[in-house]
Subunit: 313 residues, 4 copies
Amino acid sequence: MGLTIGVDIGGTKIAAGVVDEEGAILATCKVPTPPTPEGVIDAIADAVRTVSEGFEVEAVGIGAAGYVDDKRATVLFAPNINWRHEALKDKVEQRVGLPVVVENDANAAAWGEYRFGAGQGHDDVICITLGTGLGGGIIIGNKLRRGRFGVAAEFGHIRVVPDGLLCGCGSQGCWEQYASGRALVRYARQRAQATPGNAELLLGLGDGTPEGIEGKHISLAARQGDPVAVDSFRELARWVGSGLADLASLFDPSAFIVGGGLSDEGDLVLDPIRKSFRRWLVGGQWRPHAQVLAAQLGGKAGLVGAADLARQG
Amino acid sequence: MGLTIGVDIGGTKIAAGVVDEEGAILATCKVPTPPTPEGVIDAIADAVRTVSEGFEVEAVGIGAAGYVDDKRATVLFAPNINWRHEALKDKVEQRVGLPVVVENDANAAAWGEYRFGAGQGHDDVICITLGTGLGGGIIIGNKLRRGRFGVAAEFGHIRVVPDGLLCGCGSQGCWEQYASGRALVRYARQRAQATPGNAELLLGLGDGTPEGIEGKHISLAARQGDPVAVDSFRELARWVGSGLADLASLFDPSAFIVGGGLSDEGDLVLDPIRKSFRRWLVGGQWRPHAQVLAAQLGGKAGLVGAADLARQG
Amino acid sequence: MGLTIGVDIGGTKIAAGVVDEEGAILATCKVPTPPTPEGVIDAIADAVRTVSEGFEVEAVGIGAAGYVDDKRATVLFAPNINWRHEALKDKVEQRVGLPVVVENDANAAAWGEYRFGAGQGHDDVICITLGTGLGGGIIIGNKLRRGRFGVAAEFGHIRVVPDGLLCGCGSQGCWEQYASGRALVRYARQRAQATPGNAELLLGLGDGTPEGIEGKHISLAARQGDPVAVDSFRELARWVGSGLADLASLFDPSAFIVGGGLSDEGDLVLDPIRKSFRRWLVGGQWRPHAQVLAAQLGGKAGLVGAADLARQG
Amino acid sequence: MGLTIGVDIGGTKIAAGVVDEEGAILATCKVPTPPTPEGVIDAIADAVRTVSEGFEVEAVGIGAAGYVDDKRATVLFAPNINWRHEALKDKVEQRVGLPVVVENDANAAAWGEYRFGAGQGHDDVICITLGTGLGGGIIIGNKLRRGRFGVAAEFGHIRVVPDGLLCGCGSQGCWEQYASGRALVRYARQRAQATPGNAELLLGLGDGTPEGIEGKHISLAARQGDPVAVDSFRELARWVGSGLADLASLFDPSAFIVGGGLSDEGDLVLDPIRKSFRRWLVGGQWRPHAQVLAAQLGGKAGLVGAADLARQG
């Protein structure tokens, strides 16, 4: 099979791209995410038609946040778009006249990294996506593992603190509440509130108040040694690394790949995570250690992965 | 392939059995576990020779507590026997003249249940073993998943309480410290100490002191409605069920199988676990629920599983 | 000194009452709480003038939520009304021409119970107020203990869960998030969401959805044996009782008094709290146990206590 | 009243000293702590007789670990010596012919610091003693506050981690398990085990193994910048500071005094504690902050405090 299209449905934009067999993107387009479920279907179809012009494409892969069923056809539940048991595959196939595969967006990104990014050469890889929230994907024996009902790898919602922070999912103490971009901002704001003298640089990058601190400020300030910013990254790493240690106890992969927006910071975020991972790994002196790698495809991983999953059928 | 031998190395006994292709045990023998590493090798060889008399056997599968490498040959680390990078496969093959496969004991038990017990008919199964400690095994796509380096499925050592109870592994807050036979006894003793008036029946089954409470007393007392015993099982179920909910977020299997000594109690322990699992399952209203099943093979699961893994080569 | 006036400033109503030396209320009036800080001052003055008509009163005691300074004159910070370093004593004295004492509302309620309610005859009493949130007061050696700067006894904000639920105060894991009316409702909603089959009665009292469950429904359903309602009260008691055990380690009082709206439920809430307190009390077999008593003055405790504190000057 | 004797009963030594009205020690003697309860009584009497030779003393104050009753006469329970309801006051009075006052050792040390050390000039002081374990004392309104039954200020046993580390007292998650000399050693050993490359200096001070790390090594290594040692002190400070923040919410003192062996390290341990205290203090922007002071009397605080309490009768 030759060219396929990958579609990445984000909270604000829908991106579509024509992808070849080696993961190269030949053309892309982006449209705003419409507010209604039906509008999203239309927008996907439009984007697919627009981007495929001039190419002979054979299938479409769609990455969407939420639970996707085991047939990779229906979105059971989407947190951002109001989809409940939405027959996404059928509806899009009817519009675009191509075979469609639907996949969870973090799964698609994991597959993209495994095939064309940091995961090449590994048979057993666990990917985590550190964005606003925390997602992930599981590759075991060179296959994406989706679980019996399609909803595996919901890493963000394992409980890491009993009676912990309330999560949007209704549970408490979910990993995502401690290991995500949103968590990083919370760490920085709390610390800046309590000890403003240690956050002068950081506070100066925003409006001067703790509430004005945003993610980009924390990275910038940390690179310049702001104590609160550095400590916030350390706290983030503490939670990411201890969670990876748990995943190592469960999956024992050869590599972890850390993707998502936070991974763009490179070693600023990766190095403390590696250190924390070694700190918490159980039985570390008796077993080979998984590598902790930065993702390589950036924001394109989901689109490229979805396209490749469609190619594989 | 016809008959194979399964060997189960326990802390006090080594059991060997001749097993046929349908998981039936045709002959067994048991010997005490010797105190030295070399003594254990001798005892395994003796047991294999003794039990195989009169049978034509083709391979030996050994289940041992600890980390087993990816070649299923070397025990990297055993918590009970002083094995460190022990070439168990080679040593036993030299003694018994048969091909040997080494496997983690909880993995072997999981495979036994999957093939011949509660897991039949399921492609994706997670087994947990609630004995003194907590172990487990992962079957995905009809294969035992051992991880890249052989040490996957160390369920007992995922962290469920930050800064929690000290574990024998050196970490704190491991699941095993909250969900195991040892944990159940601790729950009962603490409660009986604090509120002896609610544990009269339970205390009467031992020597009258909290320290005299043992596992078997708790089961007996719970069946008769002793408040502390009932509450101790409820506390155990709280931790088992919430952990299974996490495993569902990760693996999304079609079934969980609960084995180990505690599973002999049947619905006394299974029903509260099922209730707790539903309580903690994330997104439960949007997804099919895994079944929570009692193991069927009892203490034989490891032996039968090890024999079958040897058959499969 | 003869008659004094107590004022209780609530989120929706301001209550004023003329109180005699034995804690009896001779007259009362209530007005809605105005939305602005200045409006509240006016309303207090009006209420004092209205209620004192026909009585000869000698002082005014005001109970207000928030931090009150060591001179009992200034509200440093109020969570509900927008007071920041508000000179409440001076402003009200100017309006009403009587000496004014300002006190934290939970402190005032504690004093009321100590003097005229459940605490009579005790020298060392710890009161907690289980309302929407959690407050408290400390009586040691027959004196209300306010701390060096006036802000002692902020029981609701001791941390009982590291990395726990976010609190309105900006911290995480505050006791108030686990032991309060709001917490009780959260317990019931979460459980009803996860296991609706165990909450049929409870759900039927509201609009049928977990979000429709309110505090009054839980009490009603618990009295009729609804499993989710009963379990929610048990969870609440687990947190209240373990916190009281901590307070016993610190203060070793002769009695705890449990007041606030939840205490109106009497033994439905008190009995599980007593049981939980004994469960968690450290060294319980070596020391006399504090009693856990229900408050006796209901919603009047704050008003009566504030009046009496004003009398004492 | 003129001279009194203070006695400090430690796990290995019993120290006695003649103390004047200004807290000066005029003479001292030390004897080993005998292994039997009766032997300890004899040793106390001997030490008192020996040290008082040549002085006219009027009373004896004894500081002992454990619960002391409200009459300051009977040790209800001692963790180290096998005392259960031991009538220590009567027995020692019979031997030495002087009035005797018995006090909890951490209370005595708190009183010593309040009267003659870091607490001078403060009316409301909370002292904590960071030794092997964690103890403390409460001074409110210039009086030592012992609780209704004599066992207040058991700071070490408030629960800071639900389901946390097992404590010698039978509970789990006691503050003492996270904030004490023993905890510091555990932090260092765990970190050195996990990341030996960051503990080269620290490991070199002992026998090269994590188990060989002792408290004194950690201080020494931290002063030279060893990453694991520094991080261990930071972890200790995290727990001490957050606990002090809770005590501020409860007691609102004007000062905290940090004593015990760890306080000998001065700012190495005090500075991170101060930072952590500010980090966790609830409502810190709206209230005056308590000072966090290093104790001044070192290991003599208990002896001097006990002597002064005896003087006050």
